[in-house]
């Protein structure tokens, strides 16, 4: 308990630095997450419509997720150097897979009858996708974004290794110096950030009508 108090004191004493690091951390997460959404959703739509694209998209997404994040960051470093943008690329690569898998399964789990009815009424493939499949898959897609962003908040701690800044500076630095208050002052806000992001997206997801049951997005639709 006294460590938490001393961590809090450390945070207050270095509040300006804390704000800078927090800001960097949030910027890393948001930019990489938005980029991941922007790439993952179109890629998933492509994957749903074309078997070859599907293999490529899922393959790339799986590889990106399988490589340890630290290794991605180590790979990005010699290729494009250090700083904010290399860190974003590393985080982005790690964030796309949950969105891809959920978007694909969300769209493919829209019942065949619904799709058949839509086609039978004269919707083009594009209209079926835009008016029927994506709206019905939205809760599942958001569940993927939620998973992805929560992971991302944790992963962003590693950006410090290639000069991306963020709360990792205090945590890693604190561990090296055996400065526990500094470690806690960096770690606890990040944990709260992850929990907060999770709660916000859970609420959005519920508003979209989806339960948190990712595996059965069309339950109750039969």
């Amino acid at each position: 308990m006294s460590e938490i108090v001393s961590g809090f004191e450390y945070l207050i004493d270095n509040f300006d630095e804390f704000l800078t690091l927090l800001q960097q951390h949030i910027a890393l997460v948001l930019v990489s997450e938005l980029a991941a959404i922007a790439v993952a959703i179109p890629a998933s739509i492509l994957a749903v419509r074309n078997a070859r694209a599907r293999r490529v998209v899922l393959g790339v997404g799986n590889v990106a997720q399988t490589i340890p994040t630290l290794a991605i960051i180590a790979l990005v470093f010699p290729l494009i150097g250090i700083g904010f943008w290399p860190s974003v690329i590393g985080l982005w690569a790690y964030a796309i897979l949950p969105i891809i898998t959920n978007t694909i399964s969300g769209i493919e789990n829209v019942s065949d009858d619904t799709v058949e009815a839509a086609r039978g009424m004269g919707m083009t493939d594009w209209e079926v996708l835009r008016k029927i499949q994506v709206p019905l898959a939205l809760p599942v897609i958001f569940a993927g974004i939620r998973t992805s962003i929560v992971l991302n908040v944790g992963t962003a701690y590693l950006a410090f290794f290639i000069g991306g800044g963020g709360l990792g500076l205090w945590v890693v630095g604190g561990i090296q110096l055996y400065n526990m208050p500094q470690v806690l002052a960096g770690a606890i806000p990040g944990a709260l950030l992850a929990i907060g992001a999770d709660l916000v997206f859970a609420r959005i997801q519920r508003r979209l009508g989806g339960e948190s049951d990712v595996n059965n997005p069309t339950a109750g639709a039969a």
Binding site: D113, G120, G122
Partner: protein, 333 residues
């Protein structure tokens, strides 16, 4: 009018769904495709809105080969109802019904009016149901919305694939009756797929009976019941063929013109209990549009050998068991 000319459909895996099928669906009639599972009836229906294309042969719509139509345009002009209904759960009832009018770029005001009109027609008060979501509805209500959606842009042709299949018997019966009522007021050509011979006999002006991949008989319900062309058709109809025949026959088609001493009581207004036999007893009369089957049922429970038929407060004829037997020999058909 829809014409099938020597149509064969073979799927890519080699299965032949239908082979050399030829028949014509007249404008404004309901034609029922009936047969066991896997006989090709659904495939046949999907050829009409080009959800499938034939391997060989030609389907014509009003004389033009269907292959010349754009599939998307064609489907927007053709109503479509499937057994699972396929309502869009993320849209309100009103938006579901408005699907095709919106695809056809109707005015929003016209769409609103049309949606209300259809909901009224389907016995779903618009003020209650417009803004509901499909998941809030019962099976019967969902099916009504499905049918309303198919009628929305007032198409010339509507395809219905087992539309009442998933409903309980009472709801099904009700919807069938309402549907017959609606269809009698409209000039829509309907192609109706079912596996139930009872539904086929009830709904169809003409019935195409499918065995595996081919039509074994295409005729009116009466003709099929009178003269099943093959043992398969006879089996498919079942051993209660005489009763089924009575069910599709109206009293007015079997009654004898003799009034046999029955007369309406003067001054009586209700249809029931207003006919007296010459012995002075009151007898509940039949109406000309009752089925011959209900006449039989009444004869069985009645003491009288003949029952009066009343139309417009007048006894127009009588029905006896002999009349019903005549009907079954096909003499009066």
């Amino acid at each position: 009018m829809i014409t099938f000319e020597n149509v064969t459909k073979q799927y890519e895996d080699g299965t032949v769904a239908i082979e050399e099928i030829s028949f014509t669906v007249e404008r404004g009639t309901t034609t029922v495709l009936v047969g066991p599972s896997g006989c090709g009836k659904t495939t046949t229906m999907k050829l009409v809105n080009r959800l499938e294309d034939p391997t060989e042969g030609t389907v014509y719509r009003d004389g033009d080969p269907i292959s010349e139509f754009d599939p998307i345009e064609l489907r927007r002009e053709t109503g479509y109802v499937i057994q699972e209904i396929g309502l869009f759960d993320h849209m309100t009832v009103a938006d579901n019904i408005a699907t095709v009018p919106r695809l056809n770029d109707w005015d929003e005001a016209d769409i609103d009016a049309r949606v209300d009109e259809l909901l009224e027609l389907m016995d779903l008060p618009p003020e209650t149901y417009r803004e509901q979501y499909p998941t809030e509805l019962s099976g019967g209500q969902r099916q009504r919305v499905g049918v309303a959606r198919a009628f929305a842009s007032d198409p010339d042709v509507i395809l219905m694939d087992e539309p009442f299949g998933a409903l309980d018997p009472i709801t099904r019966e009700n919807l069938q009756n309402e549907f017959l009522d609606i269809q009698s007021k409209l000039d829509t050509t309907i192609l109706f797929v079912t596996h139930s011979i009872d539904e086929a006999l009830k709904m169809g002006d003409r019935i195409a009976i499918f065995d595996v991949g081919e039509i074994v008989q295409y005729d009116t319900p009466q003709a099929i019941l009178n003269d099943p062309k093959t043992a398969f058709v006879e089996d498919f109809i079942g051993s209660d063929r005489p009763l089924k025949k009575l069910k599709v026959t109206n009293v007015k088609d079997v009654m004898s013109p003799t009034t046999d001493g029955f007369a309406t009581t003067s001054g009586a207004n209700s249809a029931a209990e207003m006919v007296q036999s010459d012995g002075g007893e009151s007898v509940t009369p039949l109406t000309p549009t009752d089925t011959a089957l209900s006449a039989l049922s009444r004869l069985v429970e009645s003491d009288h050998g003949r029952l009066p038929v009343v139309d417009d407060d007048r006894v127009v004829g009588t029905v006896s068991d002999e009349d019903l037997r005549q009907c079954n020999r096909g003499v009066q058909q």
